[in-house]
Every structure is written in structure tokens, then in C-alpha cells.
């Protein structure tokens, strides 16, 4: 009897064996693999149910829905949606003149369409369009909201609420991402002075808290600007956001540029491309698409950072909510402000969840 290690015939491909597992068995494996894990599962389930029940009780069963002043929400045991329902308009658009409100709605609509398109887009082929959209759309919306020409001028001081949040977010995208790319390229420059300046700026900015940058921009920036130039608080805040996030984006872009093999540049040179053409056609497209998920993370951070605007007195969504809770009609009850904050959280959740899902999909695509 000889052992056969060599198969005398070709073996056809077969299907893998089918293992049948009952539902009960699978449930037990998921929840009660060991006694300790089972205990943990049950404990977490109980905590989750208790918290969920309390939240449900607060948000629905004990909530106050109707009314136009704080006496509609007496007692701190339930949410005060009456506050949200009564004040939603200034939260969305601030003090934007009512005659021109259509411009704000158009801006929201354009943003929503663009956002949906970005989030639902399933192919990474038109990456350039997405990036272009993040630069061109803000410019267009800004021009629309500001007015001029046939449209009456509306000063940015009148903008507020979610509208302002959106505008600051988009303006920061449009300025911080290109500036970050320039800084990243500057750090690889042949000129020592450009290298040193970009490096110092990026490293310095990364070591300063955003809140400090905002305060510096709000109070100190006017001193550095030539006399007569008058940038309002809104503009200064956008500059602060742009500079801060440009430094973060620069580090992301730098990682992307470093990930490109030297051979790519050599091949580009050998087919006769100039250094600039090689950068534009060969290096940048690969570097940028390598860091898209990280860039989206920066975008999400920018959206959430805009709540800091209220600290320096800009009337963004958070500022508008807090101002609302300080108005004479709605003073006195703690659940009023809490309801406003929950509304804020839901609004930001809706914005950021879409974007982070987009980023997740980009990551799984490669």
C-alpha cells in the first residue's frame, strides 16, 4: 500500500461545504458566547434601554409642543419644542431681510442638492468635479447672498443662524483646501525661504488652539491690516478658520505627496513633461485622491468648529439658539435652552453623518 501524494488526474473545482447553523445557535454565539460576554451584553442592553426610555420620555411623552412664550414649558421634565417651533426662522436665516428671503432658500436648496450629489455619488471618477464644486459653489452662493448689481445688497452682519454656518463652512472649504495645498507644495519648494515660511506657519498654527486663533483674529487682525480697510467680524472669523484649517490640510496633502513614488516623477520626466506639468498631471491627481478620506475628515471638523463662532459673538446657529433663549419671551426655564441644543445636535448630525458616510464609502472603494 503506497501513499499517494501526487494526484493522477486533474481535480475539478468544487463548491465549499455548506454549514447549516440554526437561528438559535447563531443568536447564542452572538450574545452568549461565554457567560462573561453574555452578562456584558445584557448589562449594556439594560443601560441602552433605560437611557433610550428616558430620552423618549423627555422628547415625546413630557414634551411641550405649543405656545409662544416660556410659560408654555413650565417644569423642567420635558422638552420644549414650542421654543424650536416658534424660533426656527431666525435660526435658519438670522436677520436676513424678509423681502430677500428667496435668496437664502435658493442657497439652501443649491447646497442641499450639491450635498446629496456628493454623498450619493457612487463613483470616484468625477473627483475633480467634487473638488471644483467645493470651491465654485461657495463663491456663487456668496455672491447670491451678498447681492450687488440688480440684487439689493445684504450686509453679512444681517446673515445668521444655519445660513451663516453654511456660508462659513463653505468659505472655509474654498479657502483652506487650496491654501493647504499651496503650503504643502511650499514645504517641498526649492527655495529655502518658501520652505521655511511654509514650515513655520504650518507647525505654528498646528500648536495653537482654534479658539485662540479666533480671538486673535477678532481682536488683533484689524491692527495688522492697513488703516481704512474694514473687515467685519464675520470676515475675520472666516480668515481665522481658513488659516487654521489650511495648516491641518497642508499636513494631509504633504502625506499624500510623500506617498507618490519617485519613479512616477522620473517617468514623467522621461516622457518629456516639465516639472510643472508632471506635478499637475501625474503627482497631484494621485496625491489628492490618496488623501480624500482625510480631507473629508477635515471638512467634518470644519463644520463642527463653526459652533465656536458664537463664542466671539457671531450669530451662527448656536449663537442664534442661545440668543433666542435669552430673549424676554423665553427666559427662565432650563429645558428651553436644552431643547435648542438638542435641535442643534440633530442639525449637525444630519450634515456630518452624510459626509462621513461618503468618506467611508471612498475608503472601502479602493
Amino acid at each position: 500500500m503506497t501513499a499517494h501524494f501526487v494526484s493522477p488526474v486533474l481535480i475539478d473545482a468544487r463548491h465549499p461545504p455548506v454549514v447549516s447553523v440554526t437561528v438559535a445557535h447563531r443568536l447564542r454565539r452572538m450574545w452568549l458566547a461565554t457567560p462573561a460576554m453574555g452578562l456584558l451584553s445584557v448589562a449594556l442592553l439594560v443601560v441602552f434601554a433605560l437611557c433610550g426610555w428616558h430620552l423618549f420620555e423627555w422628547a415625546f411623552l413630557d414634551a411641550h409642543w405649543r405656545g409662544s412664550a416660556s410659560d408654555a414649558c413650565s417644569g423642567a421634565d420635558g422638552a420644549c419644542w414650542a421654543f424650536v417651533i416658534a424660533r426656527w426662522k431666525p435660526w435658519l436665516v438670522g436677520n436676513y431681510p424678509s423681502g430677500e428671503l428667496w435668496r437664502a432658500w435658493v442657497a439652501f436648496g443649491a447646497f442641499a442638492i450639491f450635498w446629496t450629489w456628493v454623498v450619493r455619488r457612487s463613483h470616484s471618477a468625477s473627483l475633480r468635479q467634487v473638488l471644483l464644486g467645493f470651491v465654485l459653489l461657495p463663491m456663487g452662493l456668496f455672491a447670491l447672498l451678498l447681492g450687488g448689481g440688480p440684487l439689493p445688497f445684504v450686509a453679512p452682519t444681517l446673515w445668521g443662524g444655519l445660513l451663516l454656518t453654511m456660508v462659513v463652512t463653505l468659505a472655509t472649504f474654498a479657502s483652506a483646501l487650496p491654501a493647504g495645498l499651496c503650503l504643502a507644495l511650499g514645504r517641498r519648494s526649492r527655495l529655502p525661504i518658501v520652505r521655511a515660511l511654509s514650515g513655520t506657519f504650518v507647525e505654528g498654527m498646528r500648536s495653537i488652539p482654534l479658539l485662540a486663533v479666533l480671538f486673535i483674529a477678532a481682536t488683533l487682525l484689524p491692527l495688522f491690516l492697513p488703516a481704512g480697510s474694514n473687515i467685519d467680524l464675520f470676515g475675520r472669523a472666516v480668515i481665522a478658520f481658513a488659516l487654521f484649517n489650511a495648516a491641518l490640510a497642508a499636513e494631509v496633502f504633504r502625506g499624500g505627496l510623500q506617498s507618490i513614488d519617485r519613479g512616477q516623477l522620473e517617468a514623467a520626466t522621461s516622457v518629456g513633461l516639465s516639472d510643472f506639468a508632471a506635478l499637475r498631471l501625474i503627482v497631484l491627481p494621485q496625491a489628492v485622491s490618496a488623501v480624500i478620506p482625510a480631507l473629508v475628515n477635515i471638512m467634518i471638523a470644519i463644520i463642527k468648529e463653526t459652533t465656536l463662532l458664537s463664542v466671539i459673538g457671531v450669530n451662527d446657529l448656536l449663537g442664534a439658539i442661545e440668543n433666542g433663549a435669552k430673549s424676554p419671551d423665553w427666559m427662565g426655564e432650563s429645558n428651553i435652552l436644552a431643547s435648542g441644543h438638542v435641535f442643534l445636535a440633530i442639525a449637525y448630525l444630519a450634515l456630518c453623518l452624510g459626509l462621513s458616510r461618503y468618506s467611508r464609502r471612498l475608503e472601502t472603494q479602493r
Partner: protein, 258 residues
């Protein structure tokens, strides 16, 4: 120093290296290299690893700077003291290169890989560049892969695309830096055959390779390098059958030993 005759005459050297020296830091990588290549000539460079073969071909198209000497490539005269970006651009307009790692552009289709150089480098118009690309894609037998990405091709196919890409710039000289060294054995031949057919058509080629059979069949001259120097230059028959220097005899002996 010898005077370089004007490149107008037909048999003037297409590449002339005069006393070229190169250092990596304090490491003397190329030592007093003198080499003339005539138009249509096929040169194979071989030698042990670290002998400076790759450095030599990379220096010819100025991917690597050199510190002493002078290089004249296709009429572009570059002194070690005056290596500029403009000079590198001028040289690379005439010289194509095929790399060990293919270095195809992964974000572009095969066709885009072939046209990007002519369109954005040499400013050939797009339809002419496309025609050229299809022509050379047919030459390397990959017409049906024109719209694929490099990652969808086998190693041998990628290297053939890389050869077509180099040809699309209408070079007067093509440099090959170990073109088959990172290929699976069964793909080496398809690349060597492409190179052989290119050689038959009279393309000037400088090839760094360990494929000794290719050297014997195709080369007009074989150059042996060791420790940054050219040790021996000979016709393939003399090179393999009557090696002069002891170091080349040792090298060939080691190749035959296994």
C-alpha cells in the same frame, strides 16, 4: 579634452560621455566614464549589482546629476557644472526610458499613459498623439487593452505598455534599465521579443540587463562595468567567448556556474 564634432554629420555619436564622474555623497559611483554610441547602435551593459550600470543610464538622460565631465546627447551638450532643468527637458525630448518597475501612471488608462507625454510635453496635437499611441500599441500587441488601467494588466503587458509609452515620444535613443528584472519568468520573453523587434528596426538602444542570451543575439557591443568603471567593451562574440580582463572572466564564470 576632445572636441565634439557638430552633430550634423550622419555618423556622429548620438551619445558621447567624456570623463564622466559621479558621487553619491562620498561614494564614487561612476569613475572616468568615456563612451560613444553611434546612431542605430545597440549597447548592452552588464556587470555585478552595485557596479553603476543603472546609475550610468540614469545619468545619460540626466535623471541623476553628475559632478565631473561632460555628456552630449542628441546634440544637447551638458557640462557637469551646468546641469539645468532646461537641459534635462531638452535631453528627455530625444531620449525614451523604460524602467525596471515600469512606472506607468496608475491613475490613467493605457492610452492616456501613451499620449500624456506627446500632448503635454512635446505639444503634439491630440489627434496626432492618439494616432501615434494606437500605432505603437499595435506594435506591442496590446490594442485591445487601450482603455484599461495599468493595474488590470500583467507585468509583461505593463512593461510592453511602458515601451510603447517611451516610443510615443519619438525618441532617437531608448534607455532600458533592467526591463525584465522584476517580471515573472514566463513574462520575460514577451518583453525581450518586443525589444528585439525594436532593435531590428534600427532603434538606438542602451540596455542594462542580466539576460545574456539577449546580449549575444541583439547587441552590437557589450559593455562590462564593475565598481563604477567600464572594464571591458567588446562585440558579443569576443565578450562571451574571449573575455580579456580577469574580472569579466570571473563574472562570466559565476554566471555559467549555475
Amino acid at each position: 579634452m576632445t572636441a565634439v564634432p557638430p552633430s550634423a554629420s550622419g555618423d556622429a555619436a548620438i551619445v558621447r560621455l567624456i570623463r564622466v564622474n559621479k558621487w553619491y555623497g562620498s561614494d564614487h559611483a561612476l569613475r572616468d566614464i568615456d563612451l560613444d554610441v553611434a546612431p542605430g547602435e545597440r549597447i548592452v551593459i552588464c556587470g555585478p549589482s552595485g557596479s553603476g550600470k543603472s546609475t550610468l543610464v540614469r545619468t545619460i538622460n540626466l535623471l541623476e546629476p553628475f559632478q565631473q565631465g561632460r555628456i552630449v546627447v542628441c546634440g544637447v551638450d551638458v557640462d557637469a557644472s551646468a546641469i539645468t532643468r532646461a537641459a534635462r527637458l531638452a535631453v528627455n525630448r530625444h531620449v525614451g526610458m523604460v524602467f525596471q518597475q515600469f512606472n506607468l501612471f496608475p491613475h490613467m488608462t493605457v492610452l492616456q499613459n501613451l499620449t500624456v507625454g506627446p500632448v503635454f510635453g512635446a505639444r503634439v496635437n491630440r489627434s496626432e498623439a492618439l494616432e501615434l499611441a494606437h500605432h505603437y500599441l499595435r506594435r506591442v500587441g496590446l490594442t485591445e487593452h487601450a482603455h484599461k488601467r495599468p493595474a488590470q494588466l500583467s507585468g509583461g503587458q505593463q512593461q510592453r505598455v511602458a515601451i510603447a509609452r517611451a516610443l510615443c515620444t519619438r525618441p532617437r535613443l531608448v534607455l532600458f534599465d533592467e526591463p525584465t528584472a522584476s517580471l515573472d519568468p514566463e513574462m520575460v520573453n514577451e518583453v525581450l521579443q518586443t525589444m528585439e523587434s525594436l532593435a531590428r528596426e534600427g532603434m538606438t538602444m542602451i540596455v542594462v540587463t542580466h539576460e545574456m542570451e539577449f546580449a549575444r543575439q541583439v547587441a552590437d557591443r557589450v559593455v562590462f562595468m564593475d565598481r563604477g568603471q567600464i572594464i571591458e567593451t567588446a562585440s558579443p562574440d569576443d565578450f562571451f567567448d574571449r573575455p580579456q580582463s580577469p574580472r569579466l572572466q570571473l563574472f562570466l564564470g559565476q554566471l555559467l556556474a549555475h
